[in-house]
């Protein structure tokens, strides 16, 4: 445990594509676990947020739960990384910012095609939606951003290994450009 980098990951309002890209390091995953200890992450069953060196956050902030989880991750981490377009600027889910929450909910649950009993879900178990989807830096301080939708597995690998080595992070051209 000791000298491994402790890493936690979370998906807020994102599509899990950035997490999939993390798995796209393929066989390097077997190497990675020698270097990194995973704390709470969707890929394991740890549900408590423990203190970590690095927290990697996918997705923007769309509801009250997102705010709470993000703040808790911030409190518990030294370095917080915004990964992917959604965490960095809201991404596709932020397209709903052009409409009111009411319009979006009504479209899905009231005006939807083939809906039997139109109503908007309102149980207390469901967290409240925010009026707008926000990038995570509007809620907490962010140390690094890793752009892409999603960034490639190679870019994530470069990022983590450079960070582990304590080097400034430089990407080869092909890892940050898609042309």
């Amino acid at each position: 445990m000791s000298d491994k980098l402790r890493v936690a990951t979370a998906s807020l309002a994102g599509c899990f594509g950035c997490h999939m890209s993390l798995l796209d390091i393929d066989e390097r995953l077997l190497e990675l676990i020698m270097l990194v200890e995973f704390e709470r992450s969707p890929i394991n069953d740890i549900k408590q947020i423990e203190p970590v060196d690095v927290a990697i956050i996918e997705g923007g902030v769309a509801n009250t739960d997102n705010v709470e989880v993000l703040r808790e991750f911030r409190r518990q981490s030294n370095i917080l990384v915004a990964i992917g377009a959604c965490a960095i600027n809201g991404g596709i889910p932020a397209m709903r910012n052009h409409f009111s929450v009411k319009e979006c909910l009504e479209e899905s649950y009231i005006n939807g095609i083939g809906v039997l009993n139109p109503m908007i879900p309102n149980d207390p178990e469901i967290p409240l939606l925010l009026n707008k989807v926000h990038p995570i830096h509007e809620v907490v301080k962010v140390e690094y951003v890793l752009p892409g939708c999603p960034p490639s597995g190679d870019a994530i690998w470069t990022f983590l290994t450079e960070l582990l080595e304590g080097r400034p992070i430089h990407f080869p051209y092909n890892e940050i450009h898609y042309d």
């Binding site: 509801n63 709903r96 083939g114 039997l116």
Partner: protein, 496 residues
């Protein structure tokens, strides 16, 4: 049926247990249980807590953005959304049949996708429960534990997924959120270098696919009673089949069968889905509850996905997978198999099928063709139906004369499994948890049931979790009497 656990009579008098976030599933959801003073479970629900509003915000966007935009619902099976949207836009641009090269490239992309998704689901997410047991230590019960204890197996899983992702990269341009399919066809085919690169490993991938089926078969037969009974429910099934009734993932008619295997409908053109399916809304979940109209909401819910597809089809078109299907079907003496955990077995048969189908396509010269795109007369309405890894997926769009989206309706696979997943967790709550002191491993059984469906809660929110596992005891007025908090270390804290 245990639907009576859906809603408790006096919820305010009950203890509430939350499992959140759900882990080793793909997306955002939580489960709540309400218990009485004897720990009898009175209510169990899977909630989808995130809402995105795709149906609204794609209004006003040009139709040609749909295949690249809507796939961002889900990074786990983006190709399914990419292709369902592409098929819907084929219809919008008036193309009934795309070119052979375009169709084969799309099929190749889709087989690659189903292969990688099934590998991910089985090896990375579910295998820890199956290999170590649901009550294995929390910190060990994950893919990293599998890498440590079974490095060869874990590596096969990782490389199977990698291969599927490489097929996607070469057909769609990028592993996650590619751009290969466009309205009326595709924007690239393979060149011989790409083909040779993929051909190099395919024999090995098929071998490993077969090993995966053998592995799950062995696991199943080690504890046959457990695998048959755990989370099992009787349900209707729906899937696509081709004109011969064969297993089909890309293009076919809808077939629905009841729990005994009797026809409900067959070879229905997906374009007419509105005549057959309806959706109900419940106040406690953002995920709707679809059902078959003719049977009504109570009786009409159904399962989709690998188990439904294997139950519903007459055969699989590839040799080894068909052999495996023939070994699978006698499980219930030729009746449809309703063992929820058998879904993993069905999933691995499909993984093998995808590997074989990829090999066949790699020998087809059409994938190197240059005839990629067709045009037709614009239509106002486009509907695309496909079998995503987790089951049938519908995309429906309506556009105006300028090609701008006016209306959209998406019915994703996991939504169609909503009632079935809820029924399965109620079965587990009732048969395995009720009356016991709830511990972390016991609660993991709920998630074991959910994982069998391979739910993509991410898509289903067209959703995020909160805090740790927490049990709160409330008095009749809803005041908190005591609170039990489960730490990640496994230690249980009591407090107010």
């Amino acid at each position: 049926m245990i639907s009576n656990l859906e809603t408790a009579e006096n919820p305010e008098k009950l203890k509430r247990v939350v499992i959140e976030p759900l882990t080793r599933v793909e997306g955002h959801g939580k489960v709540t249980l309400l218990l009485d003073e004897n720990n009898q479970i009175r209510q169990a629900r899977l909630h989808i807590v995130e809402f995105r509003g795709f149906e609204k915000f794609i209004q006003g966007r040009p139709y040609w953005e749909l295949p690249v935009l809507v796939q961002r619902l889900c990074g786990i099976c983006p190709v399914s959304h990419h292709l369902a949207a592409a098929k819907a836009t084929d219809m919008l641009v008036g193309v009934k049949q795309i070119t052979p090269t375009a169709e084969k490239i799309r099929r190749l992309m889709h087989f690659g996708q189903t292969l990688q998704s099934h590998a991910l689901h089985f090896f990375h997410l579910s295998s820890p429960d199956l290999l170590f047991g649901y009550d294995d230590e929390v910190r060990h019960r994950n893919i990293i534990g599998v890498i440590e204890d079974y490095p060869e197996l874990a590596k096969k899983g990782v490389l199977l997924r990698k291969y599927g992702q490489e097929v996607i990269r070469l057909t769609a341009g990028k592993r996650v959120h590619g751009t290969g399919a466009i309205p009326g066809g595709v924007n690239k085919s393979l060149n011989t270098d790409d083909r040779n690169y993929l051909q190099k490993d395919i024999k090995q991938i098929i071998e490993w696919g077969e090993d995966a089926v053998e592995l799950i078969k062995t696991i199943y037969h080690e504890h046959p009673d457990y695998h048959r009974d755990f989370a099992s429910i009787q349900s209707n099934s729906m899937s696509l089949v081709n004109a011969r009734g064969e297993h089909e993932l890309y293009q076919g008619g809808l077939r629905a069968r009841d729990a005994q295997g009797g026809d409900i409908f067959d070879h229905v053109d997906g374009v007419r889905y509105e005549d057959y399916l309806c959706e109900a809304v419940k106040p406690w979940s953002y995920m709707k509850f679809p059902f078959i109209q003719s049977l009504g909401q109570e009786q009409g819910w159904y399962r989709v996905g690998p188990l439904a597809r294997i139950n519903n089809c007459e055969s699989l078109s590839t040799e080894r997978a068909e052999q495996q299907r023939l070994e699978f079907m006698p499980l219930e003496n030729g009746q449809p198999v309703h063992a929820t955990l058998a879904t993993h077995w069905a999933r691995m048969i499909e993984l093998l099928h995808c590997a074989e189908a990829i090999e066949q396509l790699l020998h087809d010269e059409d994938i190197l063709g240059h005839d990629l795109l067709l045009k037709g007369d614009m239509q106002a309405r486009g509907i695309g139906v496909i079998e995503a890894p987790r089951g049938t997926l519908f995309h429906h769009y309506e556009i105006d004369g300028d090609g701008v989206v006016q209306k959209a309706n998406l019915i994703v696979s996991t939504t169609q499994n909503n009632q079935a997943i809820n029924e399965s967790i109620r079965q587990v709550a009732n048969n395995y948890l009720s009356g016991h002191e709830l511990t972390e491993p016991m609660l993991n059984q709920i998630e074991v049931a959910i994982r069998a469906y391979d739910p993509c809660l991410s898509c289903a929110t067209h959703a995020l979790g909160k805090m740790p596992l927490e049990i709160e005891l409330l008095d009749a007025d809803g005041n908190s009497l005591s609170r039990i908090r489960k730490q990640a270390s496994g230690e249980i804290c009591l407090g107010r």
